[in-house]
């Protein structure tokens, strides 16, 4: 592990790689852990080039088929999953130092990306799930009385957030699957992951249209460069909390589509009478520990039916085990302070509190009494008499309901969905979305494409028969314009 206090990162502009020495200016990002990151400053010329070469770049991208994209991703994954691949290894180490996440956890997240992209089937199935047909962008498909095909939206600007390395990567992957020109504004918290992705694109094939149309760089939100980025975009894909999204909404010009992800909260539901308590404790501990609970899919509350007192012990044991595997290395003062303050609040309010080195459990009988969640491996546990009591605590901001046994989902998904949940998963599976899953209640790829329809003429075929169309031409025209 490097002991240097300064990390130097490159940027990628329209597929070209620039180190600090290659550009006249660079900027320094400072971290509470004492590290500094030096990163080159791109200029407005990068966005001018995108405007100038937009047609040419899109022409190359539109020519790509799903097979071409899947093959590129497969090559990417081959390199990415190579245990000796130095770009990934260095990114793991640096991302861990900058984000405060355990390196092992970052490595697991990176592997998920590689595993997903290794198989052509994943890429094709994902596009099919999202756009209804894996070839939706490759050819015209006959639908009722029209031929339809999806085209890239144009230029997608990704405003990333650093709490979940995988989310950043997938934002870019979605932009590539829809053959868009992608501009990624890297997050301060984790500048490393998106740049490692871009570096790998570059190494796989620097001349590939997906590489040539990718820009990954940093600029402050309040800067002329940010305004220039918004001006060139057709779609803005934004991740983050309320304040971040509000700032973005103020900037996005009229006519530019905004696709925002977050903020959301998630929960777990366990019926101890119907599952293996040991497995429930292990999976609950994993879900609470991953991303130090800072992802929107991390459960913040647990609604539990059954003998809780007996179950607390195995839960504590598995949380300690999780601390061993993925230690909480958070040095963020705000995050630590929120946890400490919440613990005091719980003590004042007489809630039952259990805490370990990295985690805190609080048993609160009235879920409405909990107003804020400090994250940081803190679980509010609400005992319930009936699982059907849970739905009334869900909100339109609920993202994932993780349940055990899985059958709880079958029994209660209608009431949970009606109350606002957008994913129902088996406990422990929230960070591994299954094929066909939705994201934040929508199909993200549909927001990154422009659908085009070529419709049948007056004499074209009709799904429900051609009775109305068996007229001579003159009569058809008369029907359209002069019929009384």
């Amino acid at each position: 592990m490097s002991g240097a206090a300064e990390i130097r990162l490159p940027v990628f502009a329209n597929g070209r790689r620039y180190a600090c020495e290659d550009l006249p200016e660079s900027q320094t990002l400072e971290y509470e852990c004492g590290l500094r990151v030096r990163i080159p400053c791109i200029g407005e010329d990068v966005f001018c080039e995108i405007t100038r070469r937009r047609e040419e770049l899109l022409e190359d991208l539109i020519r790509l088929t799903i097979d071409d994209v899947a093959e590129f991703f497969s090559d990417f994954a081959k390199l990415w999953m190579d245990p000796k691949y130095e770009v990934r290894l260095q990114a793991e180490e640096r991302a861990a130092r900058l984000t405060g996440y355990a390196r092992h956890m970052i490595a697991m997240d990176y592997s998920l990306l590689g595993e997903a992209l290794t198989h052509r089937g994943y890429t094709c199935d994902f596009v099919e799930s999202e756009l209804g047909n894996e070839r939706a962008m490759d050819e015209w498909a006959h639908l009722h009385s029209s031929y339809i095909r999806a085209y890239p939206a144009g230029v997608v600007l990704h405003n990333m957030v650093g709490n979940m390395p995988l989310a950043n990567s997938f934002s870019i992957i979605w932009g590539c699957l829809t053959r868009n020109i992608n501009i990624a504004k890297i997050p301060v918290r984790d500048p490393v992951t998106p740049l490692a992705l871009a570096e790998t694109f570059h190494r796989v094939d620097p001349g590939h249209p997906l590489t040539k149309s990718l820009t990954v760089a940093y600029w402050p939100h309040e800067s002329p460069l940010a305004d220039a980025a918004y001006r060139v975009a057709n779609v803005v894909c934004s991740w983050g909390g309320t304040a971040a999204l509000k700032r973005v909404k103020e900037k996005v010009p009229a006519g530019v589509q905004l696709v925002d992800f977050g903020p959301k909260w998630s929960l777990a539901v366990i019926d101890l009478d119907r599952c293996d308590p040991e497995m429930a404790a292990r999976r609950m501990a994993a879900d609470v520990s991953f991303y130090d609970q800072e992802a929107c899919l991390s459960p913040q509350r647990l609604f539990i039916k059954g003998p809780l007192d007996k179950w607390i012990e195995p839960l504590k044991r598995h949380l300690d085990t999780a601390s061993g595997c993925i230690p909480k290395e958070c040095w963020n003062r705000d995050a630590l302070a929120h946890c400490a303050i919440t613990k005091l609040e719980a003590m004042y309010r007489g809630w039952r509190v259990y805490s370990g080195k990295d985690w805190t459990l609080m048993v609160v009988s009235d879920p409405a009494a909990v107003k804020e969640h400090p994250l940081g491996r803190t679980l509010f546990i609400h005992p319930v008499e009936r699982i059907s009591d849970v739905a009334r605590y869900l909100t339109p901001q609920t993202q994932v309901v993780s349940c055990l046994p899985w059958e709880l989902g079958v029994e209660h998904r209608e009431e949970w969905a009606a109350a606002g949940a957008v994913r129902v998963v088996e406990l422990g599976m929230s960070r591994r979305p299954q094929p066909g899953a939705v994201h934040d209640g929508l199909r993200p790829l549909t927001r990154l494409v422009r659908w085009v329809s070529h419709e049948e003429g007056a004499h074209g075929s009709n799904k429900y028969g051609n009775d109305d169309r068996d007229y001579p031409q003159e009569f058809a025209d008369d029907m359209l314009f002069f019929r009384r």
Binding site: T242, D334, Y348, R349, P367, E372
Partner: protein
Amino acid sequence: MTCSFSGAEGLLPLDRLLAEEGMFQIPAAQAAELRRQYIGAALAWHLDGAPAYARYAQALGFELKAVHEAGGLDRVPLLPAVLFKRPEVETRHPHAGEVLWTTSSGTKGGLSRVPRNDLTLRRFFSSIAMQTKVVLDVEHADAHLMVLGPTAAEARDLWIAYVMAGLAVFLPLTRHYVRGETLKIDEAIADLQLLAGKHVGLIGPPPFILELARTLAARHIGLHLRPTSQVITIGGWKKRSGEAVPRTEFDQTVSEALGVRIEQVRDIFNMVELNTVIMECTAKRLHIPPWLYVRARHYGDLHVLPSGETGILSFLDPTAVSYPGFLLADDLGCVVEDCACPCGRRSDILKIERRLNTVESRGCALKLESTLLG
């Protein structure tokens, strides 16, 4: 409002200290002993009469006698400021009698409500009165106070208005320039022009002061106030945090526009839960008065940090009798202990770094579940 507080005899010497002109000349050891006494008495009052606080202390394993041991003040149970934002949580001392519920502006994560009875309010005003004289050096009977804030009557229970009113009480020539939540900037400028050669105390939140200074500069209006006039900021930038400028830039801009000496651009620290104000001297240092125990605490386990180290700020304020004034703030900062200041005073010095950031700012997880059903 009448004072229904009784049994406060043990606290009365504190009232004498609040009005003590030599409060910053008390030797450090003696000040520490006074603090221990007054905080111990306040603690006994709250443990004896406030069941919720007593239960909390018990849950934390704290006993009153600990306050007399070495490091005892560091173990006093602290109420996180967030508790005052929970309407269903009772922080009011049951024997405090009639109280006024003072509130924060609620710009950051909900409205704080702090119950203050007559004695608590009187002590607050008393501490302001003497500190205004001994730290701000304001004792001119002819000083004109211009408040860029609403009158206490218009502000109702808004605490910052009380703080400003507290300063105004002792200076009869006072005008307010915020009405209906609007800063009457032209009125303020007209009055400033009329006050040439006079000693003026201009007080208000930093965005209003800056707006006034920039307007004066933009209109090329030169003022001729007495150079010893003062500009005193109170409260933060709140909803206008995007307009915040570094302190040195702020002081320079304001000093130039208003024609006051740069050392006379001062700040006052207070928060709605705290019953004492902390004022800045000419060396721009916040002097902690001797009855108040302020320490920075470690982010993780809340142990008290050594002098000068940054952490979460905690306050033990014995002047509050209608609620326990033992607070863990939402502010980060440090305390430099027993500091000899260039202004000639010797005291603990408070340095405020910033407010805690919300958890939401760290990602896409929703922290505030204000819409939780049920």
